[in-house]
């Protein structure tokens, strides 16, 4: 049973990181290689909230907002100039990632830092002991993603966003402020990375180079899930997270990592557009 919870936790974290990436990718066509650095900033946000604001929980608000604000500035200053030029955005966001990483190294040093677990101890669930904080994280992420889905499906904002995905020029002609939609989307996707960083921080260690390992798997989830589809992404994250955890459980974690890559290759070979055939 602990294995089910482990698989669930791995999938849900993957989903949160991938959701931000996927939203930006799906809507803007921008592959944000600085996503891991936004995650790292979120983790430092948790560090600052715990050490200076007095409560870790504030970080769950402050970190996403701060990252969103920074991302909005970056969108206006950099990303906006590169829409519809995917290869250039890769180079630009890669450079951005290095700049953010080194800036943090200059300010905070490369020391390993630590955020104390805000909810120590474990709870007895489904016949096994599982860390309390992880249960909270899982609940929180599911709630946020459900809210996100509902916004996308049921509100005017969601309609506008989907219109822009489907045809940005036509949406613009119909009076939609496409630029604003892009900026908000970029900020929102980045905020999710910031939130992920703040949620991950207590169970790992915080340092300037922590971002990239989280993002590589998330990229796979975005590709496997299909572009612009939140549901496809959920499916992909669940499948990838479960496969990785299961293979690690039955054999070893190295095989788990290999299984993950093999699965991604196989899916993309037979379903080149990912699990969801159509973008939302």
């Amino acid at each position: 049973v602990q294995y089910v919870l482990n698989a669930g936790y791995a999938s849900i974290l993957l989903l949160l990181v991938a959701a931000g990436l996927g939203i930006i990718f799906g809507l803007l066509g921008v592959i944000n290689l600085a996503h891991g650095e936004f995650l790292m900033l979120g983790a430092y946000g948790a560090l600052i909230a715990t050490d200076h604001l007095g409560s870790y929980w504030l970080a769950l608000l402050v970190a996403p907002l701060a990252v969103a604000a920074l991302a909005a500035l970056i969108e206006v200053g950099l990303i906006r100039r590169l829409y519809r030029r995917p290869l250039e955005t890769i180079v630009a966001t890669w450079g951005l990632a290095i700049v953010i990483r080194e800036a943090v190294r200059q300010i905070a040093g490369s020391d390993f830092r630590s955020v104390e677990t805000p909810l120590p101890g474990s709870t007895h669930v489904l016949g096994t002991d599982f860390p309390r904080f992880r249960l909270v994280v899982m609940g929180l992420v599911v709630a946020i993603l459900v809210a996100l889905y509902l916004v996308q499906r049921l509100t005017r904002l969601g309609v506008v966003a989907r219109a822009v995905i489907a045809n940005p020029d036509l949406a613009g002609a119909l009076g939609v402020n496409v630029k604003l939609v892009y900026a908000v989307t970029f900020a929102l996707g980045s905020a999710l990375a910031g939130l992920a960083g703040a949620l991950i921080a207590p169970s790992v260690n915080v340092f300037p180079d922590m971002g990239p390992p989280f993002v590589i798997t998330a990229f796979l989830a975005v590709l496997v899930g299909g572009l612009g589809s939140l549901l496809g992404l959920v499916g992909a994250a669940l499948v990838l997270g479960t496969v990785q955890t299961s293979v690690a459980e039955w054999t070893n974690p190295v095989a788990g990592g290999i299984a993950l890559l093999v699965l991604a290759v196989v899916v993309l070979r037979f379903l080149p557009d990912g699990l969801s055939r159509r973008a939302a």
């Binding site: 602990q2 190294r105 020391d111 120590p120 340092f207 590589i216 796979l220 070893n252």
Partner: protein
Amino acid sequence: MGQRRRRREAAVVALGVAAAAAASVGGISAGGAAEGDLKVGVLIQLSGAAGVFGPPSQQAADLAVSEINAKGGVLGRKLELVVADDATDVKTAGEQAQRLMLQDKVDVLVSTESSAARDAVLPIVKRAKGLMIYTPLYEGGACDPHLFNLGEVPQQQVAPVIPYIQRTYRGKKWFIVGDDYVWPRSLGKATKSIVQKSRGSVVGEQYVPLGTSEFGTIIGKIKASGATNILMTLVGSDAIAFAKQINDFGLGGKVRLFGLAMLDNVLPAVGKGTKGIVAAYGYFGTLQTPANSAFKRALRAKFGSKTAQQTTLSEGTYDAIHLWAQAVAKAGSADPDKVAAAMGGQTFKAPKGKITVDARTHHVAQHIYFGVARPNGSYRIVKDFGLIPAGAQCSF
């Protein structure tokens, strides 16, 4: 569809770039050298995943060089320090070694890096007919006429400690957890035979890719195995994440966590949950000896508030430069062959205690200390296993 296809291609490119991003390139250029100076090349990790280990090594090297120069240098020649950053990347390590040997033409190359980087650097040093001193704790058995190893080998860091832990904490079931590369794998093998000789048992063994931050699955296996002790060969951030999650899952203090690379500057990041963590090294920052106090005072005087926490890795960089300078003085020349011959039998009163280079094995005999982690993130040293030889690592 066309646009989407293009996006997909871009995404695949992005994936490749992201993977390469982990390995960005770094380098620090050498200062102007006066003619006739002897050059000491130090190759360390100043950036990348292990970037936290370089700064204390750089300070230790800086201190060693300025101490030697304050006494007039060696053979009437001053030492000049050339520091290079391998960016925690094997390929960069090779490039930087190439630069140190061919461009800077250093008289000795001191390497405080991973085993994988050492294997990349050694052939370059050999081709340039140079001399190399490898300082970190490692798996043992790296033999070359032009290579000396100062770090703890399993015969020193693990062999005396396993029976001691079994006795002291009354538990003989071991679980081995490590990163998946040469050092942890070799240490796993060595540990299994040591545990067997100590009448303990290894109930599980798991390796994870470097950069793993999620250990729920492995901790589940550890719980199920009934292990009383964990031998951990995870490094850097992986070790911290593992130790924190051991606590989250309620095993903190219930199992002994013997971390082979949970160094003095890594432990604080575990936070308050340090219960059960133990370590054994040839040097601890908290070692209370006159030699270590003097070492720390000298660093403090030189670097002030920027003084980095010393570890067994970085202290080795300091010892390496002093030992080499002694050997140069004895040989009366900086010629690598003559210095190599003079290295054997050199004794140095290091901050860690007296160390002696064995001419036959090119390794050193050293004291091994046992430390228990305190909640404030430092080790309390509770035992000195005495001067322990490195065993039959090589035979020259």
